[in-house]
């Protein structure tokens, strides 16, 4: 395979250069979070902190970081629960029932993949205010879930198509109804798909910005991404404080990544890599 290795050299160099480009800002974020403001201004941005401090992190909690953190967790888990709760039964029906109605339903979801959330933010705002949900976490969860549904349906239907038909038939012969087949067969066997979709959707909700920006207003209902923005304006040039907030906002996702790297990456690529 010597021929192949030669072709890899330019790509390898490129990969290394890009790796440095990725690494420098991440290094900057992490070390700056542990610096004092004075040290940051005195030293170069990439110097190691001489007297590392945790003060930036502790002061974040005094500034209401916990509220943002809890709100983001509620939004992420709420969105995942809504999406999985409605998408799995729908995918089950679409895969197991070749009716016209369900084919149309599937095509509607496919069409939905192409609608950018931003293009419909004004009517979403109208609907949410009319439902009296403005400035609540539910106002963020519902549209985020709706816009995650198409990809969830696509991934879950392809997972369910991989379940051999004989398994369904065997249960049918035993006289099982759809509900029983769903709980005994579909639910356990679709776990990998559910994990991928859950991670993908949860990550999207965790990092979401537009819906929280437009659909919430008060500090009590705001999520981490907007909290970061607020810290920026509050802190002015306090870059270490801001970078500490960035580190803290990424920690839950980083933990998820370390525990389930494989699931996370396959979740991110779910439905697109084919």
């Amino acid at each position: 395979m010597s021929g192949k290795n030669r072709a890899n050299v330019p790509a390898g160099v490129l990969a290394t250069v890009w790796l440095i480009i990725v690494a420098v800002p991440i290094y900057f974020v992490v070390i700056t979070g542990f610096r004092t403001q004075d040290a940051y201004i005195e030293q170069g941005p990439l110097d190691l902190p001489t007297r590392p401090t945790l003060g930036n992190f502790t002061s974040l909690f005094e500034l209401g970081f916990t509220t943002y953190l809890v709100n983001s967790l509620i939004v992420a888990f709420g969105t995942v629960a809504v999406v999985l709760g409605v998408a799995l039964p729908a995918a089950y029906a679409i895969v197991r029932n070749p009716s016209r109605q369900l084919k149309i339903a599937f095509n509607v979801f496919l069409l939905g993949l192409a609608v950018p959330a931003q293009a419909v933010i004004v009517p979403i705002y109208l609907i949410i205010t009319r439902l009296q949900l403005y400035d609540s976490l539910l106002a963020v969860i519902l549209p985020t879930a709706a816009f995650s549904l198409p990809i969830a349906i696509v991934v879950l239907t392809s997972t369910l198509r991989d379940i051999p038909g004989e398994l369904y038939e065997a249960m049918t012969v035993d006289g099982a109804a759809s509900g029983r087949i769903f709980t005994r067969l579909v639910l356990p066997l679709s776990r990998p798909g559910l994990v991928s979709v859950g991670i993908f959707v949860g990550l999207g909700a965790w990092n979401g910005f537009l819906f929280p920006l437009v659909l919430t207003q008060s500090d009590e209902q705001r999520v981490l991404t907007l909290g970061l923005w607020k810290f920026q304006s509050q802190y002015g040039t306090n870059v270490p404080g801001l970078m500490a907030a960035v580190v803290l906002s990424a920690l839950p996702v980083l933990a998820l990544y370390l525990f389930g790297r494989r699931h996370l990456l396959s979740g991110l690529a779910a439905g697109f890599g084919k």
């Binding site: 021929g3 030669r6 990725v22 409605v86 729908a90 816009f147 890599g273």
Partner: protein, 295 residues
């Protein structure tokens, strides 16, 4: 048996919650935004039907053409920057070299950061007074270190977009490359094809569907590069980075002119669709539909 077979088919009811939910918040808004583009609405009270007035006023909006130009520029520059990078790194990362797993952990970290976090990080890094930009800007053509305040701010944004999304597209190319049958390379090896030749004769054609999928995602994504710009430049300096989605947000949610914002939203969908059509046409996606059927 027939009765049993009928009984095991889950009916439409199983899909009804998902369908109704999606119709209400995914599909209805698409029609509603067209309706709202014919109304006057400040975000409170009820929208008032005013016919074509919003549509007529697009000719008086100097920022509109600018917004379209900036959006298209950002899309094209982002594609040109990200696609070769992601493709080459993805193919490389699919190879067998040692230490790849450890490296890719670092490599994929940007995917874990929110756009908000990334934007604020780069604002700090590119700060002309205290950031990295102050010390090193002069080596890349920004003598005063003021990257985001320069005429080239849009290209800086494109770079940060790439920083965030190249890992994602790399992931697509990496997993697609792994699925190329080894036998193709072995046959080429026997024929004496060089590595470069193998790349162009086997790898690239086999990745065509992934290239299209990745490009379409970039296109749809480019219409959503809004929060990054809002946080990094707020459209400035002047209107140098005021892309269409940001222009729409400012008109609607800062200026409370929801009717005109809806006009911009309809245009956004039109620009997006037009760009997608161009990509699909120029890559001959319709001709390739047949080779997907066998897969």
């Amino acid at each position: 048996m027939i009765a049993a077979a009928r009984r095991e088919r889950p009916g439409f009811t199983w899909a009804a919650p998902a369908v109704l939910f999606f119709l209400a918040l995914g599909i209805l808004p698409v029609f509603a935004v067209v309706y709202l583009s014919f109304t006057k609405w400040n975000g409170l009270g009820d929208p008032q039907w005013i016919g074509l007035d919003n549509w007529k006023s697009i000719t008086d909006d100097p920022d509109l053409v600018n917004g379209i130009v900036k959006t298209v520029t950002l899309t094209v520059v982002s594609w040109l920057l990200q696609t070769p990078l992601a493709l080459l790194i993805g193919v490389w990362a699919a190879g067998p070299q040692r230490g790849r797993a450890a490296l890719s952990t670092l490599f994929f970290l940007p995917l874990l950061l929110s756009t908000a976090a990334i934007s604020l990080t780069f604002v700090s890094l590119l700060d002309p007074n205290f950031g990295l930009a102050a010390d090193y800007g002069k080596y890349v053509g920004f003598a005063d270190g003021n990257f985001l305040g320069s005429d080239h701010a849009l290209y800086v944004v494109a770079f940060v977009v790439a920083w965030q999304f190249v890992p994602f597209h790399t992931l697509l190319y990496q997993s697609a490359t792994r699925q190329i049958p080894r036998s193709l390379y072995e046959a080429a090896q026997i024929d004496g094809a060089t590595g470069v030749r193998q790349f162009f004769a086997i790898t690239l054609p086999q990745l065509r569907n992934t290239i299209i999928a990745s490009s379409v995602l970039m296109l749809v994504g480019s219409l959503t590069y809004f929060e990054m710009i809002l946080l990094m430049t707020n459209g400035g300096p002047g209107t140098a980075t005021r892309v269409l989605p940001l222009h729409m947000y400012i008109k609607g949610f800062v200026g409370f002119d929801m009717g005109y914002a809806s006009v911009l939203a309809v245009l956004l969908v039109a620009v997006g669709t037009a760009l997608s059509v161009v990509v699909v046409r120029s890559t001959g996606y319709h001709r390739m539909a047949s080779d997907r059927e066998g897969a």
